[in-house]
């Protein structure tokens, strides 16, 4: 992985945005968490193609994500592969002038996969450990959390957009660090990679929690339009040492907001899908200039 080969793969827009990204890179282009500017260039250039062309992602309510300081982005997980994670990262990087980088909390099995492990750590996607979450938030960074975990991406097409149980660990960390929670919904992922079956043996061989099989067999997402809806930041009182029932109550509040964003997002998504069969929708609902509270009309 020579430095020159990697830089060639970085688009001009990404290069400009990387210069504006507020991460403490040292002379090797590395930040203290092992995030590499060079690798980010390739990573975001790849995401750019998916975000702008392949999934034609439209992002609503990006202004709800703070421009600086810590926040925890909490949303629904869907679509067999974590396409939603990639597109949320892309929206934070591309949807407004000041790009931000978020760290995802990755399933631990990825740490043992060659290349995947290396790339995830170079682009700041760390194993989902509470220690990482606390440290990143205390450092004023953005954290992307899917409290459904692998249960979320592993759901079958017939259960699409039905939220499964939320983990509660994220709430204690948000309270402990005082970070606001920005709820979001990702729409389109379920249709892009509809899982109809789980290949358990294959999953076991590669050490993954499941292996999604779509009707067309190859687990690669289809080029369908997707949307991201960010809701208003949520603040909860507490220190993170509250009893489980208090925490579960807070988590339910977040879950219902995400659920609402999903329902509204799905309505808009159907509208868009209908319009696409005739013509592309007008730009009045286009990225960043979308409705101010991240909800669909």
């Amino acid at each position: 992985m020579g430095p020159f080969r990697l830089e060639i793969l970085t688009s001009r827009d990404v290069r400009d945005r990387l210069e504006r990204l507020e991460l403490p890179f040292n002379q090797y282009g590395m930040d203290p968490f092992g995030i590499s500017k060079k690798h980010l260039g390739v990573f975001y250039s790849m995401l750019e193609a998916f975000y702008k062309t392949y999934f034609r992602v439209r992002c609503f309510g990006i202004e709800n994500v703070p421009e600086r300081g810590s926040a925890m982005l909490v949303g629904n997980h869907s679509g067999g592969l974590p396409v939603d994670g990639g597109m949320v990262l892309a929206s934070l990087f591309f949807a407004r002038d000041l790009p931000r980088h978020a760290t995802g909390m990755v399933e631990k099995f990825a740490g043992n996969w060659p290349f995947v492990s290396e790339w995830f750590s170079r682009v700041g996607q760390l194993p989902g450990l509470p220690e990482h979450a606390v440290r990143l938030l205390q450092d004023g960074r953005l954290l992307m959390v899917f409290p459904e975990g692998a249960r979320g991406t592993g759901k079958l097409f017939k259960d699409r957009y039905r939220l499964v149980q939320f983990g509660t660990g994220f709430m204690r960390i948000a309270l402990q660090t005082g970070a606001p929670i920005v709820p979001f919904a990702f729409i389109g992922g379920e249709e892009a990679l509809p899982t109809v079956y789980h290949a358990r043996t294959l999953a076991k061989i590669v050490g993954a929690p499941y292996w999604p099989v779509p009707p067309y067999l190859v687990p690669f997402p289809l080029p369908l339009g997707c949307e991201i809806h960010y809701g208003k930041p949520m603040h909860f009182p507490g220190t993170g040492r509250e009893p489980d029932e208090v925490i579960e109550g807070y988590v339910e509040q977040v879950k219902s907001v995400v659920e609402l964003l999903v329902i509204r997002g799905c309505a808009l998504h159907r509208q868009r899908a209908g319009a696409t069969s005739e013509q592309e929708p007008t730009d009045s609902q286009s990225p960043t200039s979308g409705s101010d509270d991240g909800t669909a009309p």
């Binding site: 992985m1 040292n26 002379q27 203290p32 968490f33 996969w113 060659p114 170079r122 450990l129």
Partner: protein, 303 residues
């Protein structure tokens, strides 16, 4: 102040001795190896820390401070030898410290005891358990020595005990675990993995040990210099060629083709990072490293 340094003939221990001597401390040393041209004011007793004459050094000279650096990390020594020196040696040194009224004991340990694992936190704090017992079983003796030294904190509360878990020391001395790994022109890496490596300059490491003495530190502290860099950057920065080897072939390549010999347990430590959070040490001693990662690599390469 009268300061006894065990393992004084190690490259870093000598640097510590000279630093302390230069500012007027009286230095005693214990080592199996001789230091023929030891400067005036540095008195070396050629013996093993586990032998009776070592106890006599404590008994007769009554040092105020002991800096325990008589541990070995290289794998050319047998497992039994490592256990004898690292664990039993540490045990005896701490018992002498207690018995002969030493005021402060500084155990110079290593950050590798935290162990490298795919699901371990990137930054280790002092509260993290030493995973190396399972990720790198050959390091079990060092883990035991570290924990034994730390037990002095509750066992003998009157003895100020500082356990320093230091990141790799690298620089002009070309000594230490990481220097041995980087000794040849080619550095083996595991294909598809590029972990962060945490290291500090020889002189910064020495400075940190001296500060632990000056601040009469008591407790367990991670000690680090500049932020970590990936192994590939470290290899290139020190003028070496990283050779990525597929993991299943790794054990067949160690010690061959000009690559260093490594025990099987070392694989995890070449795949995954061990990085420490040294905030507590910096806060307690106002320690600031003088050499950034680039300077450390250049100093190693050019000396």
């Amino acid at each position: 102040m009268k300061i006894l340094i065990t393992g004084i003939n190690g490259a870093h221990a000598r640097m510590v001795a000279l630093r302390l001597r230069a500012r007027g401390d009286e230095i005693l040393g214990i080592d199996r190896r001789p230091w023929p041209d030891a400067p005036e004011g540095v008195h070396v007793f050629q013996t093993d820390v586990r032998k009776r004459p070592a106890a006599d050094v404590f008994r007769q000279h009554r040092p105020d401070v002991v800096i325990h650096m008589a541990t070995i990390t290289h794998f050319t020594a047998s497992a039994e030898e490592r256990l004898r020196i690292n664990l039993h040696g540490t045990r005896l040194v701490f018992e002498y410290c207690h018995e002969f009224g030493v005021k402060q004991a500084v155990f110079v340990g290593r950050h590798t005891i935290y162990g490298a694992a795919p699901d371990a936190p990137l930054y280790r704090t002092e509260e993290e358990p030493p995973l190396a017992v399972s990720t790198f079983p050959e390091l079990a003796d060092l883990v035991a020595a570290d924990l034994f030294a730390a037990a002095a904190l509750w066992r003998w509360p009157n003895l100020k005990t500082a356990v320093l878990r230091m990141v790799y020391m690298l620089g002009p001395t070309h000594r230490g675990t990481l220097a041995s790994f980087l000794a040849g022109p080619r550095v083996p890496t595991i294909l598809g993995f590029d972990p962060l490596y945490h290291f500090m300059h020889d002189e910064d490491g020495v400075e940190a040990i001296v500060r632990a003495v000056d601040h009469q530190l008591s407790g367990i502290y991670n000690v680090a210099g500049p932020p970590p860099v990936p192994l590939s950057t470290l290899a290139r920065g020190t003028g070496r060629q990283p050779i990525p080897i597929p993991e299943p072939l790794f054990k067949y390549s160690a010690g061959r083709f000009g690559l260093p010999y490594l025990p099987p347990g070392a694989v995890a430590h070449i795949k995954h990072p061990i990085v420490v959070d040294a905030t507590a040490f910096r806060r307690a001693t106002n320690f600031e490293h003088k050499h950034d990662a680039h300077a450390v690599m250049v100093s190693f390469r050019e000396s």
